[in-house]
Structure formats: structure tokens, C-alpha cells
């Protein structure tokens, strides 16, 4: 199960809507082993594409160095689908390389850049096997977490 704060859920959805019709992508980091996604880090989709996403290689290195220095790991890896359902594509499954991460898929196909609900679903992807999991949204209770969150 993915437990995620309302603010971070909202930030992911806002990022996906903003970048529509291109795919949006990013990470929510958290203390290693905690399973708590607390630091929202939107990334640039270097592919700039409605059907593909990829972190820029230099930004990817910086991201992992930052997380390493903070004893964090990517608790959530998110991206959007802009014309299809919020389910991992074959490419998503083939390239998933964080066995500890929750892979969050957001679909903006219904409302694009405008308001309105989006599909927000979460999966484990391990060795090519996709397992959907429940998403629980909780109010942000620890003010420390707000301070840790990066501004987009």
C-alpha cells in the first residue's frame, strides 16, 4: 500500500496537468527504509514527449547524489500518461529499475490541463511483474515534512 500526504498527491497531479499533453515525471524521496514519501522532486522530462519520459542524465546523477547525502531513496517514482489509462506500459515495465519504489501512474486523458479528477494509481514493478496496490491519502501532520519538500 502507498500512503501519501494530500499535499504531495496534489503536487503530483498539478505537475501532470501542467505538462499535459507531454508526460510529466518525478520522484518523491523519503528516508531509506521508511516507505514514507516526503520530499517532492518534479523532474524535467528530457524526452519532452506525449508517449515517453526520461530523466536527463545529468539531473539523474544530481538527484541520486542528493538522496545519497540525505540517506534517502526514491519511495515514489511517478509519471503521467496523457492519452491512455494509468497503467504501466510495456516500456514502463521493461525499464522499471527501482524494486523498492512505488510506481505511481497518473492519467490526464480525461481533463488535460483543466481542473477535474485524474486517475492516480500505484504499482510495484519487480522483475517484470506488476502488482497494483491501494493508495491511501493522509493529511500532512508532521510540519517537518513541509520544510523538507522542495518547491517545484
Amino acid at each position: 500500500m502507498l500512503t501519501i500526504a494530500q499535499e504531495i498527491f496534489d503536487a503530483i497531479v498539478a505537475h501532470a496537468k501542467r505538462d499535459h499533453p507531454d508526460e510529466a515525471c518525478g520522484v518523491v524521496a523519503g528516508p531509506e527504509g521508511s516507505d514514507r514519501p516526503v520530499r517532492f522532486i518534479p523532474m524535467v522530462n528530457a524526452a519532452g514527449s506525449p508517449t515517453f519520459y526520461e530523466f536527463d542524465s545529468t539531473e539523474l546523477l544530481q538527484l541520486y547524489k542528493d538522496m545519497d547525502a540525505r540517506d534517502e531513496e526514491p519511495v515514489v517514482v511517478y509519471h503521467s500518461h496523457t492519452a491512455t489509462e494509468a497503467y504501466p506500459s510495456r516500456t514502463d515495465i521493461g525499464l522499471a529499475s527501482e524494486p523498492n519504489a512505488h510506481y505511481v501512474l497518473v492519467s490526464t486523458r480525461a481533463h488535460g490541463n483543466s481542473g477535474g479528477p485524474v486517475e492516480f494509481r500505484s504499482y510495484r514493478i519487480i522483475d517484470g511483474v506488476v502488482t497494483e496496490e491501494q493508495v491511501t491519502i493522509v493529511p500532512l501532520t508532521n510540519p517537518q515534512q513541509t520544510e523538507e519538500a522542495s518547491t517545484p
Partner: protein, 94 residues
Amino acid sequence: MAIEVRIPTILRTYTDGAKAVEGAGGTLSALIDDLEGNHPGIKDRLVEDKSGSIDLRRFVNVYINDEDVRFIGGLDAELSDGDQVVVLPAVAGG
């Protein structure tokens, strides 16, 4: 000649869980062969056969002292003692 190689989570099955291992080699290609000697199977996760020649896999990023090796010669990129190599799978999908 010791070169520190940072190993991503997904490849730690080849390093008994170690986050970093030491290797040797004057080029990235030689380093990968050296790693394969101590951690059998790891090479195939880093390189692939592309029409007869061995090249880095498209969705594996390797950095030498923070430089993406694709900009400094790929598998022929030179290494010296004390260099730090980081391996990171691309975060990508469709």
C-alpha cells in the same frame, strides 16, 4: 589501481548487497571486465551487443567523476586511480 564503483539497488544482487565495490582498469571497458571477474553476470546488465560491437546499454547511465561517459568516449573513456564511477539505470518509460 583502485576505482570506486557505485552500484544501483537493482544490481546489488551481483555485489552481495554492496552499494559500492572496487575495480580496476585503464578504460571503462577494462573496468567492466574486471567487475565481471568478481561479480559474474554484471557485465551483461551494463553492455549489449549492438550490430557486432559491444556498447553500453541504452538505458544504463555510467558516470566517471560526475561526467556521463557518453560524452567522454563511452566504453573507451579513460580511467585513473582514484576515479569514481557511478552506475545508474535510466528513469524512463512510456
